[in-house]
Subunit: 128 residues, 2 copies
Amino acid sequence: MDSEQVQADLFDAKCPSRQVLDRIGDRWSVLVVSTLAEGTLRHGEIAGRIGGITPKMLTQTLRGLERDGLARRTVYAEVPPRVEYALTDLGRDLVGLVRQLTRWAEVHIPDVEAARADYDARPTASRK
Amino acid sequence: MDSEQVQADLFDAKCPSRQVLDRIGDRWSVLVVSTLAEGTLRHGEIAGRIGGITPKMLTQTLRGLERDGLARRTVYAEVPPRVEYALTDLGRDLVGLVRQLTRWAEVHIPDVEAARADYDARPTASRK
DNA sequence: CAGCATCCTAGCTGATACTG
DNA sequence: CAGTATCAGCTAGGATGCTG
């Protein structure tokens, strides 16, 4: 395989890890998915559990998840309106990946933070 | 535990998955780490393998990886200057996580794309 | 309650040019 | 060769106010 091929594999939108990161790399997706992991919830319930998310960002995030087949949106024609969100099978599968991320973090983030502190303390290092 | 505590767990910098995503969620870190997985490389060699990355972004990314203890930077006092980069043990471990991301993507991204195409085609859905 | 419209800011990112 | 400095654009993200 030539270098052009390697480049194509790594760069662009072809790189698989890039695709996942583009999907869950934003500020709220992981949080919303994790919250929905506990079951079907309404818009306000999700907001309450997460805390600090604006209605706009929540809706925007949920729309993205719905579009990508990770969450299902159910509207009940009632007054006042009621909208429920739940994970799809695909979404539940994503939870598994998130758990792997979490597990890795719990194990290794301490090392990362130690290295960071060490780096910042070192006067010789090219500091930011 | 009160709702304040739940919020603290999920939000802020405490959520473990958030920490990983903050670290590898940027455009180049995963690419650079994956490239370094093949061995010790010089600045220009990494740039050549990745393609499309500017010197500034590469240096910036490498600095971040070095700071977090994921990569090691070795400067040789020669003329012309030579600087080599290699993964640390921690960095190599991160490669494992990236491979899991990649694996998940390869399996499920097709479903995501199908759902997306379906969603975009549906005229009734609240489209973006 | 759910969520849309609008405005606005901050930070990532990139293009370019220059230095040790 | 490796790295820095500067300028500029894009867009994720947030604040606010209004509607069905």
